[in-house]
Amino acid sequence: MEVAERIGPRAGRPSGAWRKWLRRDPVAVGAIAVLVGIMAAAASAPVLPLANPDTPHFGERLLAPFAGGFVLGTDQLGRDVLSRLVWGARVSLVVGAAASLIASTCGSMAGMIAGLAGGKLDNVLMRLIDLMLSFPYVILTIALVAVLGPGLFNAMIAIAVANVSYFARNIRGNVLTLLGQGYVEASRAVGARTGRLLLRHILPNLVPPLLVLVSMNIGWMITETAGLSFLGLGAQPPQADWGSMLGDGRQFVTVDPYVTLIPGVAILLLVLALNILGDALRDLLDPRLRGR
């Protein structure tokens, strides 16, 4: 038992690797800065000196940035775009993170159960996953929203469910690889039970691939949430996320392109930062895929 445990690799790396990585990859550092900036603004929205995001100023509709004292201008109802952007960030971030959490938790559980149990259970679970994958991703989300009905909460659930298959498949693959490793076999040979194998060898070694999977996927989920809100299937007024700001401003694109330009750039920046970070994290934790 002792030997088997000592030769098993430990999850994570010494902190020196992180520091070296940051120095080598300035783009990733920029991405972190953007991400931290957006999260800090979203978190401190109630204490920032912002106008009320829902108060209309009917005399000052569709102002361009910096006009009339509104830094990013006003929207079609004369509401402060900067304030709506900051408050909307809270919605977009929370919904994206929650969908990601639900999808990764459920997907990993299904993947682990399938990988560890094997046999019939594995077969049934994988056929179900295959069935989900026989629908294009956006169509599956749309079908789920159709069933649940439009709304931000339902959109989040739909996006989470549509992404379960992605996590389940990948985690199952990782579990099967780990089960074939020498140190797992050794541990099993000296009498370790499934529970101990799971806690000691499987779970810790699933953390890095799971982190990579989440970071590669969360940008998609945020775009998808914004997309559903844009179509009117997500956030319903008066609640607004970046997607619905974009969708509402769309009719006024001829008069004032900024109302749609600004939330769009915000989504692009956030998702780009997340994707760059995802790539960097993958390179760091999964060197086999580096430069792909």
């Binding site: 026989s134 940008g219 179509l231």
Partner: protein, 316 residues
């Protein structure tokens, strides 16, 4: 090869049965009474009962499924609640429009993606290569619905080069030139993300192939660089590209949901969103079914093409 084809066809049939069960089940997974949701809270009891009967909701589930499937095979997908006309007719009419858009986007994304990917790989590390990689990462993060709006603002509203909505002009519309003019912006908007993906894959596949012995041998024989690139390197990346074709077609069909709504393109995607907003379930079911079926069939074709074009797989 024959055995493989038969096996693959059987698997496809099974998948399609699974898809049909999921689509059929959509109506039954609705929390609450589907008839009530479709007709709204003010509907009278009589109308509700009539709709339940029309949808077959007053019968056991398996009877409903068999009936639904039998009608489906006859080309009957029920009647749209809002439009009061055959769902099958509506779906088929719009399906052509979506296929046209998807096909145009496939051409744009593959032509652009392969060119950029190959040039990037040949000039690895050059300014072009580095810019292309950066743009590809940006392209992957681009919300397509927003990019579509930007295209409309720039090319339709400001420059007035191309129309930004619909499929045909109101006056003298409908000709080939008119349709193509309407097609350009939506096709580009739909193609941008697949283009980025394909450029990245082509580049990495080209780089991988360039390290193979046969490429080195070809160079050592003194063949011109152009011949080596096209005949030895690029030809061998085609297998990867075929796989991409299947994957990206699914993406394009689904991505059309956003693009069609921005450009008011009268396709399946626009119909799906309208159907969800008006809670017209038969219409949504029809749309989901046709897109999923197309996706399954295209994946089978991709699989077969993959085996056919890769002698290593074909002969083993």
């Amino acid at each position: 090869m024959i055995a493989f084809l038969v096996r693959r066809m059987l698997a496809m049939l099974l998948t399609l049965v699974g898809v049909s069960i999921v689509v059929f089940g959509m109506l039954h997974a609705v929390p609450g009474d589907p008839a009530q949701i479709m007709l709204g809270p003010e509907a009278d009891a009589h109308a509700l009962q009539a709709l339940r009967h029309e949808l077959g909701l007053d019968q056991p589930v398996y009877v409903q499924y068999v009936r639904w499937l039998r009608n489906l095979l006859r080309g009957d997908l029920g009647t749209s609640i809002v439009l009061r006309r055959s769902v099958f007719g509506e779906v088929m009419q719009r399906y052509d429009h979506t296929l046209l858009l998807a096909l145009a986007a496939i051409v744009v994304s593959f032509a652009g993606g392969i060119t950029i990917g190959v040039v990037s790989a040949i000039r690895r590390g050059s300014l072009f290569d580095r810019t292309a990689i950066l743009l590809a990462t940006g392209g992957l993060s681009l919300p397509s619905f927003w990019f579509a709006l930007v295209l409309i603002v720039v090319f339709s509203l400001k420059l007035r080069w191309l129309p930004g909505t619909g499929m045909a002009s109101a006056v003298n519309g409908g000709g080939v030139v008119d349709t193509v003019r309407h097609l350009v912006l939506p096709a580009v908007a739909l193609a941008v993300i697949p283009l980025a993906v394909i450029a990245r894959y082509t580049r990495s596949a080209m780089l991988e192939v360039s390290n193979q012995d046969y490429v080195r041998t070809a160079r050592a024989k003194g063949l011109p660089e152009r011949v080596v690139t096209v005949h030895h390197a690029f030809k061998n990346t085609l297998v990867v590209l075929i796989t991409m074709l299947g994957l990206q077609t699914g993406f394009l069909l689904a991505g059309a949901v956003y693009i069609e709504n921005v450009f008011s393109w009268p396709g399946i995607g626009q119909m799906l969103v309208n159907g969800i907003l008006t809670r017209d379930f038969p219409l949504v079911q029809g749309g989901v079914l046709i897109v999923a079926t197309t996706y399954v069939v295209i994946n089978v074709i991709t699989d077969i093409a993959y085996v056919y074009f890769d002698p290593r797989v074909r002969l083993s």
